[in-house]
């Protein structure tokens, strides 16, 4: 008679013990964490899949651009300032235009935006920098015009910021210019 009651009671206690010592903690602990990790992995996989799709689309778009235009674009806004190479080009342009250059200098160092933090460049931050080159020259007015047109149509972007022209009785004028050059940081 007593056994009839004690054993079921014991069974209930064992069941309760198993539930609260294993089933519930495992379900709400390890299993819940594993499920969350799986969901996170699945989201990352979806993002990776979206990235791969986007990368392929971008690669297709980039491949559609003429490589020559891409290299021209790299000259237009180069990866480094390379002002020495630019001065050589300016000197050559001046010589072809009939202008005599002298006293080329960097007059201003201007950073257009702060550095983007993080491993990759941030999309919206301005990644360009610029400096101003000052130069003095002498030559005829026609030579100046040819030089200016050359600068304006240069493959590398050059903006005239300031120009002073002084005439003389000889027909050879003196010029002072400030050119702004840009590069991609």
């Amino acid at each position: 008679m007593i056994h009839d009651r004690i054993l079921p009671l014991f069974a209930l206690m064992v069941a309760t013990g198993i539930f609260f010592s294993y089933v519930h903690p495992t379900w709400s602990g390890r299993i819940a964490e594993t499920k969350a990790a799986i969901i996170s992995d699945e989201q990352a996989l979806v993002a990776a899949s979206a990235y791969t799709t986007r990368q392929n689309a971008l690669a297709t778009e980039r491949n559609a651009i003429d490589p020559e235009n891409l290299s021209r674009l790299a000259v237009f806004l180069p990866d480094s300032v390379d002002n020495v190479g630019l001065i050589l080009d300016l000197n050559a342009l001046a010589a072809r235009s009939g202008l005599s250059l002298s006293n080329i200098d960097v007059t201003k160092n201007k950073v257009e935006s702060s550095d983007a933090s993080g491993a990759l460049p941030v999309a919206r931050a301005n990644p360009t920098s610029s400096i101003d080159l000052s130069l003095s020259a002498v030559g005829t007015y026609t030579a100046l015009q040819a030089f200016l047109v050359g600068i304006e149509k240069s493959t590398r972007l050059l903006d005239v910021q300031d120009i002073v022209v002084k005439s003389s009785d000889t027909g050879v004028y003196s010029y002072q210019m400030k050119l702004r050059i840009y590069w991609l940081r």
């Binding site: 009839d4 054993l7 079921p8 069974a11 209930l12 064992v14 069941a15 198993i18 294993y22 089933v23 495992t26 299993i31 594993t34 499920k35 799986i38 992995d41 699945e42 990352a44 996989l45 990776a48 990235y51 791969t52 980039r62 674009l73 806004l77 630019l86 080009d89 050559a92 342009l93 072809r96 235009s97 491993a119 990759l120 460049p121 301005n126 990644p127 360009t128 007015y141 026609t142 015009q145 040819a146 047109v149 050359g150 304006e152 240069s154 493959t155 590398r156 972007l157 050059l158 005239v160 910021q161 300031d162 120009i163 002073v164 022209v165 002084k166 005439s167 004028y173 840009y182 991609l184």
Partner: protein
């Protein structure tokens, strides 16, 4: 004759038997319930155990898949794309603001009469105020200067032109002057369709010689 107090043996005691059966039934029901609960919890525990194993295996598979996907992503490729986009976007912005002072000189040639010449000219491009012009020059006569002033006013691209320090030379009636003005940004806006090309960075491309139709007034 039996004494009346002794109960007869065949008289049943219904109340005791019913109570015992009821108690026994209750015990059986409780036992059934308890063992049922125990069995259910066992099944649940086994289910939780195997479900946990399945989840762990699933997570391992997903992790491996994710590592494989991550391996296909190259940071250099991403950076190349970002740089190309930046180059295109910010290059377009810079190009839109590209200045071309040669068009201003062409404009000046067409506006001022040949009897007016500049001795000095200073053009400065400011980020906020636009292009500021300061100059000084000599006109053959006051009328020539008036023609130049009227031409500026009519054209409208050289704005706020103020002639000052006007001095008439009594010897030849020439007039020296100073000029301050601002320029319409459109007058120095770069136009890719302009005829002459002298690209820097590609020195093999020849320069087309400028053939000014008018004598430079400078």
């Amino acid at each position: 004759m039996l004494p009346p107090t002794i109960p007869t043996s065949f008289v049943p005691r219904p109340s005791d038997a019913t109570s015992r059966r009821f108690t026994s039934d209750l015990s059986s029901a409780f036992g059934f319930f308890a063992y049922g609960i125990l069995g259910g919890v066992f099944v649940l525990a086994i289910g939780v155990f195997f479900y946990g194993r399945i989840l762990v295996n699933t997570q391992s598979a997903k992790n491996a898949e994710l590592k494989e996907a991550e391996a296909t992503i190259e940071l250099a490729t991403v950076e190349n794309f970002v740089r190309l986009r930046n180059r295109l976007e910010f290059g377009a912005t810079l190009f839109a603001n590209h200045s071309a002072f040669s068009s201003f000189f062409t404009l000046l040639e067409t506006l001022i009469p040949s009897t007016v010449r500049f001795v000095s000219l200073h053009l400065a491009l400011h980020d906020t105020t636009g292009v500021k012009l300061d100059g000084s020059g000599v006109a053959k006569s006051f009328n020539a200067l008036a023609v130049a002033s009227a031409a500026f006013a009519t054209d409208g691209r050289i704005k706020d032109a103020v002639f000052s320090n006007i001095v008439v030379n009594s010897r030849d009636n020439s007039v020296s002057f100073a000029l301050t003005a601002t320029l319409d940004p459109k007058s120095i806006a770069f136009s890719p369709s302009a005829p002459t090309t002298v690209p820097l960075g590609s020195s093999d491309i020849p320069i087309r010689e400028e053939t000014a139709s008018t004598t430079p007034s400078l």
